[in-house]
Amino acid sequence: MNSQKPVRSAIPYSRGNVKPLLNEIIHALDRLLDDDEPTAIDLASLPFAPGELEELERALGHGELKAELDALGKSVIRETAYPGVWWLEHRNTAGEIVGRYIEITRTPEILMSQDADIGAGRARLRDSFDNSGPEFNKEAGK
């Protein structure tokens, strides 16, 4: 998706969005540890100068965990160098960014298996279990 790569000005200029955001994240971490309260920050609502988003990404760095989700387009969910601070990027099926968030939480909700999906999966599994021959049953441990 090279065509989607943003064209950025040759001279990056910081409007000063990064520092206050980092400060906000520190306070969000306080809330997470003290009150068990997660925070989500929608990066689309901020007037980033060219290069500033990259600056923020660099400042947060990469952590131990990175997950890829394939639902209505790809998403990347990864922990930054600061545990509890997650960087989420959602793309649509055309590969375009539809949302960018920082979540300050233990595990982003979207990583969890969802009850509706678990239920649907169980039904699917039960269905194939009921309709399959003895060999499948053996493998399944019956």
Binding site: P6, R15, G16, A40, D42, P47, S75, N92, G99, Q114
Partner: protein, 351 residues
């Protein structure tokens, strides 16, 4: 009445997982400029939402607004918003034509009486009904007939919202806006030339999610997107405050990305979301690309005295009238002096 499936039903039928739905809801929250904490409420509402019928009318327009919308990078608009609305009439996009198309419009109106949304792009010519017709029906007649049973009207683009380019001086077709004609239905204006596609989608998503129209500003525009000026949200604003300006399009200031005020930027009086939502999947917006804002989402933007004339220049006529004023001033002064001299002569005689 046909049974209308909920959005939850549609997504389930398409095999969209809950995770996919959550992602969609997060993108919708972002689109509606709502805090991420609202996502569960949006999810709840969207699951229950029933796809509204939408009739899209195109009048004196250039199809740029439709082009903009079909390039929306919002939650896969083509796949989802368009799935979650029922676009029953759009003469550019629909396969049917002629009588069949008009029949589809009437059918949609009857089936969804009082419920459907009318989207309009383009202005309506009042000078002569023949200036713009569809299937032999004048734009005015089609608008008034279609709006009759609508829940609300959304004017897409500056032409529909304010008259736009067709309505610009000298307005040869007598073009007017939707809000000039539709007085008894709620009208939401989504101006821009074209409007930001995400904003069009957001109005639909808002209607879909909460069954209501967004809060509007004095020009009937959604506050969430038209609540602040380009200037106030511009990343080049600090240069304005520092007095650093590009003087031409290729000087040092232009290369350093300084403020474009002197090159005619209308950012200070233009309310739109370009500086944050940006264009082309969030790539940039005009100022970021080095061009001043034209103010395309403002009423009468075409007649605001030149795209490259700085905002603070006065709109003066030629100097002739001013020279006339000067001559008049000198004449008045001379007359006053003559009168004064007479008085002086009287006093000096007395003295």
């Amino acid at each position: 009445m046909k049974t209308i499936p909920t959005l939850g039903d549609i997504l389930q039928a398409q095999g969209v997982s809950r995770r996919g739905f959550m992602k969609y809801c997060a993108a919708t929250a972002s689109l509606l400029a709502l805090p991420p904490a609202m996502v569960p409420r949006i999810a709840n509402a969207l699951e229950q939402a029933r796809r509204p019928s939408v009739i899209w009318l195109s009048f004196q327009e250039c199809t740029g607004c439709t082009e903009s919308l079909t390039r929306s990078s919002s939650p896969t608009l083509e796949g989802l918003i368009f799935d979650s609305i029922s676009l029953d009439y759009h003469h550019t996009l629909q396969a049917a034509s002629g009588d069949a198309a008009e029949a589809a419009r009437h059918a949609a109106m009857e089936e969804n009486m009082g419920q459907y949304l009318v989207l309009v792009d383009g202005s309506i010519p009042m000078g002569n009904p023949g200036f713009s017709t569809i299937a032999g029906i004048s734009n005015y007649d089609m608008l008034m007939e279609t709006v009759e049973g609508a829940a609300a009207v959304v004017a897409i683009g500056s032409c529909a919202a304010f008259g736009g380019i067709p309505g610009a001086n000298p307005n040869p077709t007598g073009a007017v806006s939707v809000q000039d004609l539709v007085k008894d239905k709620p009208v939401v204006n989504v101006p821009g030339c074209p409007p930001i596609p995400m904003v069009i989608t957001a109005v639909l998503a808002q209607f879909l999610t909460f069954g209501q129209l967004p809060e509007l500003d004095i020009h009937g525009r959604p506050m969430a997107f038209f609540g602040q000026t380009i200037h106030d949200r511009c990343y080049r604003r600090p240069f304005y405050e520092q007095g650093k300006f590009a003087e031409t399009f290729d000087d040092e200031g232009a290369r350093k990305g300084w403020c474009l005020f002197k090159l005619g930027c209308k950012g200070p009086i233009t309310y739109n979301a370009c500086a944050t939502v940006k264009w082309n999947a969030g790539t940039s917006f005009p100022i970021e690309s080095g061009h001043p804002c034209l103010g395309c989402s403002e009423p009468g933007f075409w007649d605001k005295g030149g795209f490259y004339a700085p905002l603070s220049t006065g709109k003066f006529d030629s100097g002739e009238k001013l020279a006339g004023a000067a001559v008049a001033g000198v004449a008045l002064g001379a007359a006053a002096a003559v009168a004064g001299r007479r008085r002086q002569a009287k006093y000096t005689k007395e003295a």
